[in-house]
């Protein structure tokens, strides 16, 4: 009896050790064909049209394809579309799809799929919705063609169809795209470079993608979200790690290949490590900004908003929040520096703090000392320190600031409240936007001037909306540039928001990774792992 037990124990031990010993070899073989990425945030919604969340957008880029892409220089390039023509009156746009495009379920991509996808996207996306107002009809005369008929020339058709960030026009099969935009999709069927592996999906733990054998990449040079989407690794795993220190340790230890967004204070350690390289993944980075509540005093007064704008200086804010000069950039343009509509013509906004001038203007505005309720997200390391500096700068200009600390999720629900600051509302909050989301007046949420139906803060300004309409109708790049600048000047005039500096958070990768494409989103085709 004792001998049998002993034998069993020894066998169990040997088997366990064999398992232990075998695991590194298995892991090695597996690692060569698998790209492991720690994404910035956990992904919760798998329908990139239903939500504007970045994680869902990035998921969309993995499994769906787009009609047009945006290259690294900001040009709109065809992707699923092969050729297109526009009528002389610029009201009829006819697009031909590339031959042989297929969804992952084996059905061909047709004009009807595209029409349904455009309709669903336009029902959720503000840019798409704006274009839809100028649309008379969508048609799919044959399997490879779709037509957009406009009731007036809309100058941004290609920009809308190739919009790089949320919501991106991803093409889905008609049977899914016919789902109303406010209902979440329950199935993932795309024609993009990867397949979503639903069986291995563990929410909050990992998302697994495998190479889509039916995907047919273009032959053009890859650039941004345009060009060839070549897949060199058979499998991509998004490994959800919430703790930044753990994520960095996992990268240093070679357990993951890419850490999408390290914290600002981790860059010196990462830079000093010989196995790690840093690379810009998001073109032009992101922009910090302060947003006002236009419905409540004191920021319902334009002069008070202007005084706040003059009080804020980018230098101190960037130094405190980002620290490293290599990662931060002074930029007074409302459209991020390095993007097509950047303009240094910013009226009386300089981005340099001028507390004396701000004080004088505040007195002139008749500011009665109403407390400015400034919301501070303590759990968001990317923007958590911004309000600390803003509070000090506003107080130097004579504002009375009541900074209230809370977690980010409390902040996003608090900012939706229109009540007076004393009754649970707010006066100002600070946030950041990826440059790809604020490229032009139509996509920049803080320039939404439609009042209470618009973005938090609820700016209402008919003149700004009119300039935006002209921008949308403009036909030439010069005209567009002119109206974008006009929109910027008007936004500064009404002080829609205050940009308080630009920054980048490069991706950290192991040295054996190459081919990361900088774009308006996080994309993972074209990557090679040696």
């Amino acid at each position: 009896m004792k001998k049998t037990m002993l034998r069993t124990l020894i066998s169990a031990g040997v088997m366990a050790m064999a398992g232990l010993a075998a695991s590194p070899a298995i892991a090695q073989a597996d690692a060569q064909s698998t790209l492991r990425i720690v994404p910035t945030t956990n992904i919760t919604v798998l329908d990139p049209i239903w939500t504007t969340a970045y994680a869902s957008r990035n998921f969309g880029y993995m499994v769906y394809d787009t009609l047009f892409g945006t290259d690294a220089e900001g040009n709109i390039k065809p992707q699923m579309v092969d050729t297109w023509t526009v009528s002389d009156d610029r009201k009829t746009w006819t697009f031909k799809l590339r031959a042989g495009l297929e969804f992952s379920d084996g059905t061909p991509v047709t004009g009807e799929d595209v029409v349904s996808s455009i309709k669903r996207w336009a029902s959720r996306d503000s840019f798409g919705g704006l274009m839809a107002k100028s649309v008379d009809a969508y048609e799919a005369p044959d399997a490879n063609t779709f037509v957009i008929k406009l009731n007036e020339p809309f100058g941004m058709v290609l920009e809308a169809l190739g919009k790089p960030s949320s919501n991106v026009l991803f093409i889905m099969p008609k049977r899914l795209a016919d789902t109303p935009g406010d209902t979440q999709l329950k199935e993932v069927v795309g024609s993009g470079p990867y397949l979503f592996n639903a069986d291995e999906f563990r929410p909050g733990e990992r998302v697994v993608f495998v190479k889509n054998p039916k995907y047919k990449p273009r032959s053009d040079q890859p650039s941004g979200t345009a060009g060839a989407k070549n897949v060199y690794t058979n499998r991509v795993e998004w490994v959800i790690i919430r703790d930044p220190q753990t994520a960095m340790n996992a990268l240093l230890n070679g357990e993951v290949d890419i850490y999408e967004q390290p914290a600002f204070d981790q860059y010196p350690t990462l830079k000093a490590n010989a196995d790690i390289q840093l690379a810009e993944a998001v073109i032009a980075g992101s922009q910090f900004m302060l947003r006002f509540n236009f419905l409540q005093p004191p920021f319902d007064n334009e002069k008070v908003r202007r005084a706040a704008m003059l009080a804020l200086g980018q230098d101190a804010i960037l130094r405190t929040q980002v620290g490293s000069p290599e990662l931060s950039k002074y930029c007074k343009s409302l459209f991020p520096c390095g993007t097509p509509y950047e303009s240094q013509n910013t009226g009386d906004y300089t981005g340099i703090a001028n507390p004396q001038k701000a004080k004088a203007l505040l007195a002139e505005a008749g500011y009665k000392g109403e407390p400015v309720v400034l919301l501070r997200p303590t759990d968001n390391p990317t923007i958590g320190k911004l309000p600390l500096v803003a509070k000090q700068q506003l107080e130097q200009a004579g504002f009375k600031v009541d900074m209230q600390a809370m977690d980010w999720q409390s902040l996003v629900s608090r900012r939706a409240r229109k009540d007076a600051p004393k009754a649970g509302g707010w006066s100002a909050f600070m946030t950041s936007w990826s440059a790809s989301d604020i490229l032009n007046p139509l996509t920049m949420a803080p320039m939404n001037a439609t009042g209470e139906k618009g973005w938090f803060g609820w700016l209402e300004d008919a003149k700004l909306e009119e300039i935006k309409r002209k921008f949308a109708m403009a036909q030439t790049p010069e005209e567009k540039k002119k109206f974008a600048e006009e929109a910027q000047l008007r936004a500064v005039e009404v002080v829609s928001h205050v940009p308080v500096g630009q920054y980048s958070q490069p991706v950290a990768m192991r040295k054996n990774i190459s081919g990361l494409l900088p774009s308006g989103a996080q994309i993972y085709w074209n990557i090679k792992k040696q």
Partner: protein
């Protein structure tokens, strides 16, 4: 005993009801709006209202509670707002890592602390006792995440013996499972070794002053038998009580360790649910934890019957 068991199980029902109502109300009174999180940064007021309506958050609070409670009674814990899965599926998926982490920690802690506590009681005031007590104070004072990061630095980053993070399911092989679980268990075990060895030392030292120990020694029983059979057995009730409480604490207290080692367990699920205001998941997980607490307490009570024959229910 069956009568006792039946009564105790029945008594769990009002406890769970109170927990359910309390959790439901506290969660709803906490600031935060799942609609704002689902909608993303560009969502407008209209978008938020639409999402709230879809989630049923525009219904009166008591209606929402009644719908949820009715579901729970029929075994339906609801559907996650975010993760597109039933709450019960999510709890089942996350149970294995947490149970393994808690069980491994407890096993490690018991195996180390019982001999240590017993020996230091036996040699009270000696060098071993001083070392054990010193470790107890230190182990209990140092935060879990500090211990975790130190162990990661030494054993994962420097020696490269263990991975930094992650969890491998038992079904994928015992080797990877054990390798990934060892450091997290060790991290948590430090605290519990400190606690259990102190309790064991106190209980055994009290037992060693009893008459039956003197009698046993006078009869010429070996010191190992005196310690293991007589002293430790008679000190078992307080020790088992603390082990039971530790097991209950561990189930809910693994959050920090799960975060530091990126283990996808129930602790992480709870934190995610709190941060994203995923009400159905949070309600389900808290109710599950409450049930585990009640059952573990019941188990501890039942163990008294075996450990101390004088106890009768």
């Amino acid at each position: 005993m069956l009568n006792f068991l039946g009564k105790r199980l029945l008594a769990t029902l009002p406890v769970l009801l109170v927990v359910a109502i309390a959790v439901f109300m506290i969660i709803r009174l906490t600031p935060g709006d799942p609609a704002a999180i689902i909608g993303g940064d560009s969502a407008t007021t209209e978008d938020l209202n639409r999402i709230r309506m879809q989630l049923g958050l525009t219904e009166p609070l008591w209606t929402q509670f009644a719908i949820w409670a009715r579901g729970v009674i029929t075994g339906d814990f609801g559907f996650s707002y975010f993760l597109n899965k039933p709450v019960s599926t999510l709890i089942l998926q996350r149970m294995e890592p947490t149970l393994c982490l808690a069980a491994g920690t407890l096993l490690m802690a018991v195996l180390i602390s019982l001999p240590l506590g017993t020996l230091s009681a036996w040699r009270m005031g000696g060098w071993l006792d001083r070392i054990v007590m010193g470790f107890s104070v230190t182990g209990f004072s140092v935060p879990v995440f500090v211990i975790g990061y130190i162990l990661i630095y030494v054993f994962a980053l420097e020696l490269r013996w263990f991975p930094v993070q992650g969890y491998s399911r038992i079904a994928d092989g015992i080797g990877p499972w054990a390798i990934k679980l060892l450091l997290p268990c060790l991290t948590l075990a430090v605290t519990y070794v400190a606690l259990l060895s102190r309790v064991t030392r106190a209980a055994v030292s009290e037992a060693l002053t009893e008459d039956y120990i003197r009698t046993a020694r006078a009869k010429g029983v070996t010191e190992w038998t005196v310690l293991g059979h007589h002293a430790l057995r008679n000190a078992a009730v307080p020790v088992v009580t603390v082990i039971g409480m530790s097991a209950a604490m561990l189930m809910g207290g693994v959050v920090v360790t799960e975060t530091v080692f990126a283990i996808p367990g129930l602790g992480q699920l709870t934190v995610d649910a709190v941060l994203s205001r995923d009400f159905p998941v949070l309600q389900g997980v808290v109710l599950f934890f409450a049930l585990v607490y009640v059952l573990l307490n019941l188990l501890v009570d039942l163990s008294y019957l075996i450990l101390d024959p004088r106890i009768r229910y």
